[in-house]
């Protein structure tokens, strides 16, 4: 039973903001101080991904739940809403 997040996000309608609405403030913190790196798991859109020496943010698929903003134990994520009218638009809701 495997599920690919890409297949799920493919069902949604996004209007991608050119300007990222999420930014990791300090990637050294992620790699040196954050043992558990919980953002890699709890994010429902798998926006946070571990690459060789850093965490990258695929903000385009963000579902705008807000969890990473308060769930990063080091409050190391700068988060705002996408510009008005951008981001996800639910069709059923």
């Amino acid at each position: 039973m495997t599920v690919k997040i890409e297949d799920k996000l493919f069902l949604d309608r996004f209007r991608v903001d050119q300007e990222p609405h999420i930014r990791i403030a300090d990637n050294t913190m992620c790699m040196e101080k954050c043992e558990d790196q919980p953002c890699l798991y709890f994010c429902p859109a798998n926006v946070y991904r571990l690459e060789k020496d850093r965490i990258v943010v695929a903000y385009e698929g963000c579902l705008e739940c807000g969890s990473c903003r308060i769930g990063c134990p080091h409050l190391n994520i700068e988060w705002r809403f996408p510009t008005g009218g951008y981001g996800i638009s639910h069709r059923f809701g």
């Binding site: 039973m1 599920v3 997040i5 799920k8 996000l9 069902l11 949604d12 209007r15 558990d36 919980p38 798991y41 709890f42 429902p44 859109a45 798998n46 579902l63 705008e64 739940c65 807000g66 969890s67 903003r69 308060i70 769930g71 134990p73 988060w79 705002r80 809403f81 510009t83 008005g84 009218g85 981001g87 996800i88 638009s89 639910h90 069709r91 059923f92 809701g93």
Partner: protein, 434 residues
Amino acid sequence: MQEEFEVAIVGAGPAGISAAYTLAGRGIKTIVLERGEYPGSKNISGGVLYGHDLAEIIPDFTQRGCPVERNIVESRLWYLSRDGGYSAAFRDQLFYDRMPPNAFTVGRARFDRWFAEQAGEKGALVVCSTVVTDLLRDGDNRVIGVRTDRIDGDVRARVVLLADGINSALAAKTGFRPEPKPHHVALAVKDVVELPEEMINERFNVETGHGVTIEIIGGITGGMDGIAVIYTNKNSLSLCIGANLSDFMENRVRPYEMLEGFKNHPMVLPLIKGGKSKEYMAHWIAEGGYDAIPRLCGDGYLIAGDSGMLFNALHREGSNMAMTSGRFAAEAIMEALEKGDLSRNGLAGYVSRLQGSYITDDLKKYRRFNTFRLRHHELFTTLPELGGFAAREMLTIDGISKKKKQKAIWKKVKKDISLCRIFRLLWDGIRSVK
């Protein structure tokens, strides 16, 4: 924006629109600012709304084209182990044709849009694709309007209603209420699964227009404090599953994998078989309870709905509290405008209305319920498995006497969970909802 308004409302969800409808209906110049492309475009819920609270605002909502999916005639409760579970259901003919319907399902993208159109017809100005990024204040720190992300985007108003939901980026920035702690919210994910209307009628044993809700707890949330639901829409099912965010942070569970596991549970799979996933979404549920409610009004502003933590987690009632708190806020604003006093004192009619209503009563009654669940994780781990084991043993016909089976069950109960713990669970459980 040069124009000045009497009331500016942040957020076109049930709370904001209820207030806008009430205010505009009385001729008060009201603007609603919504960050989504259209009202509802950022919102989800399991999808049950309550006729009573909506009818207090729009009595003839069914005749006015409210996009009702199904009228709920049966509520089921499931307590699931990994491989099976218990089911209880209640149906009553009284719910069949009641007007207004007691509880009914909606898709929020359609409902919120319809609701906002009704407010628009009353004269409220609903402006979408606009994020409120800050509050404007005067020298005495009174709120006197909002700042938006549009060019030329300040909107002045005599009073501001914050109806911006549980995920409030404004809260952190302006400090009008604290950011929730991870254990104050549940992170929920939702799939909408499309199926033909007739097939839903058959699978849920209902007629066209009638529907069923299923509330589910147990071993489906990977041992985390959480809940799942299945609600019937006209030609789709809403499947949601969520758990406390602090549990998610500790457990390294991916929400969408948990949802997938839920969809493959032997009790769930036959209901959704052959269905087509149409949409996948995520949202917080406000679970802080009574003790996490912030101060709900100050000089020049009020807070309604989820933004004020007005959510009853045990009965999954949020939209009704949002609508009624929005209406109360509007009534208090009208009083304050009449008196010409928009200070915290002048707006205090809002708080007294809430205190005199079911909202404060219910939230107070269940104030210990969230801590109860967080303290008793066995509700989601050992207990459903033991329950499943006991029922399976007693129902399996294999030549072993019932007495021997009972003994084996008892032995396992005592091994897996202490009697003292069970006693504590019952005691705390009763106290948390009494």
